[in-house]
Amino acid sequence: MTSTVELPVRKGESGEKAARGPRRRVPGRIRRIGLPYLLLLPALILELLVHLVPMVIGIVMSFKELTQFYIRDWGAAPWAGLDNFRMSVDFDAPVGEALLHSFLVTVGFTLASVGLCWLIGTAAAICMQDTFRGRGLLRALFLVPYALPVYAAVITWVFMFQHDNGLVNHVLHDQLGITDKPSFWLIGDNSFIALLVVSVWKGWPFAFLIVMAGLQNIPRELYEAAALDGAGMWQQIRRITLPSLGAVNQVLILVLFLWTFNDFNTPYVLFGKSAPEAADLISVHIYQASFVTWNFGTGSAMSVLLLLFLLLVTGVYLAVTSRGRRASRA
């Protein structure tokens, strides 16, 4: 996967060789140039149809005043210029302020969730490197959260987080007496914690899988050499295991970051159409700003801003991590 990040590094020698094969016929040159494009064609058509064209339409929408008066005939909607953007980034006015708040909540949530998913996933993978009794069973068990349909998993958590009848309050309040009165988890400030718990519960097995796979590629000799040098178990983990996971982590963290940042299903099932302020993730916020209030222009402008932000973050992230890894390899 890392090669996509450093695409130019890998030259397509084999491609040329492929076309130079024994069965080469006359217009080989055209075929040689055309073949990769032909292979990309289905993906390109679908991406254009389902992602890129709607994205362009979305960007166009962000410059229009698209309220319920115009959704029947988008062409008739008046151009709004930069008004939608101005409204979204005017952080002194309530709309901009709410967007900024939601953005910050999302950033905080994403960092916490990705961090925890990665940490738990890595720790579990390292713990399960050696064989021990019940390892297969445990590994199977750990994959269950990833295999449950999102709705089923999240609604179970809703059931557990209920104020009056939920398991969480039953344990914390009734049985352990940690809180002096039952807490609210689905509304109010605690909703952030609830969201984080559900997100980590669902997300860490993916990190676990990827890291566990990555660990299998670390050459045994490295550990042996380190052991000869007198490095203990903990030192081996720090000096060999973690650095060797660099390539895996680069992609894993990016993937987790993008998924978590734009996750809609989890908060939507957890909180419904209007999320509590403390857990007002940007995806639901934009949904509310466009679908529930029927103002698609503003919603699109917010999405475009989000796109720019994520592009920037991804670009910087890839540049920094790629350079870092190249430097450490040298």
Partner: protein, 284 residues
């Protein structure tokens, strides 16, 4: 299994035991709640939480089929998710092969563009996509809207970007000598792809298929507006247990379990491939 040559110190063993126990508890808790709640009468699940059912009942497992047409939703989900996963992977294989094995103009643009589609909030695709589908329908008579086909098309494209990304990694890890040998033996490039590269990357392909399947299996928003009564999928259909009158928690849990068991079972059967598969993809 690569294990460290030295016997792990006690401190590590203890930490491991405690950590894995806690983690297993965390993972299992909701699963336990699902199973126990599905065996409780309605009064138990709408009243104070209790660890054990006041009486064991299998009634929820009977009722789920009549409260909502669960079987139909399950079949819909299965068709949609399987078709989306298979098509997504087939298309991703072609693309990833091109990117992995050929050098051509626009390669970087392609991969970066594909990635950038993951940065736009999915909800904003909804209306434009609708318009496009309806226009395609009007122009060609192909009904994408409200049909399983439309949903399959949407989902397969959702999982396509990461499928392509992951598969490029897997293909890169398949030694080039192998397909060159196949080419020398007289296979065309596609022959090399299907006779050499794909078999060598089977684990990765399985991993990507699972990912694509789960993406389609769990999606809620598009399914809620792009389906009708006959094409509704589980992710939306399960909401039917929360009715105007009452929330049938025990039936929700029972239905969730019933529909999850085949998926989880299939998933666990495949996990052997998954572990081997993701290795190759993530590390070249």
């Amino acid at each position: 299994m690569p294990s460290s040559p030295m016997a792990p110190p006690r401190s590590f063993l203890w930490t491991r035991r405690v950590f894995l126990t806690l983690l297993a508890g965390f993972v299992l808790l909701p699963v336990y709640v699902m199973i126990s709640s599905s065996l409780k009468p309605l009064a138990d699940v709408t009243g104070k939480f209790r660890w054990l059912p006041s009486e064991l009942t299998f009634q929820p497992y009977i009722d789920i089929w009549s409260t909502v047409p669960l079987a139909r939703y399950f079949v819909n989900s299965l068709i949609v998710a399987s078709a989306a996963a298979v098509c997504s992977v087939v298309i991703a294989v072609f693309s990833a092969y091109a990117v992995s094995r050929y050098d051509f103009r626009g390669k970087r643009v392609f991969t970066v563009t594909v990635l950038s589609t993951q940065m736009f909030p999915g909800i904003l695709f909804l209306l434009p996509l609708f318009l496009i589908y309806v226009n395609i329908g009007n122009a060609t008579g192909i009904a994408l809207f409200g049909s399983r086909g439309g949903l399959i098309l949407t989902y397969l494209t959702f999982s396509l970007p990461f499928s392509i990304w992951m598969l490029i990694g897997y293909f890169d890890s398949v030694p080039r000598d192998l397909d060159e040998a196949a080419l020398v033996d007289g296979c065309g490039p596609l022959g090399a792809l299907f006779r050499v590269v794909v078999p060598a990357a089977i684990p990765g392909i399985v991993a990507v298929t699972v990912y694509a399947f789960m993406t389609a299996w769990g999606e809620v928003l598009f399914a809620s507006v792009m389906t009708n009564d006959t094409t509704r999928t589980l992710a939306v259909g399960l909401q039917g247990y929360s009715t105007l009158y009452d929330v049938y928690w025990n039936q929700i849990m029972a239905a969730s379990l019933v529909v999850s068991v085949p998926v989880v079972a299939g998933f666990l059967l495949l996990q052997r491939y998954l572990v081997a598969g993701l290795t190759a993809g993530a590390v070249k």
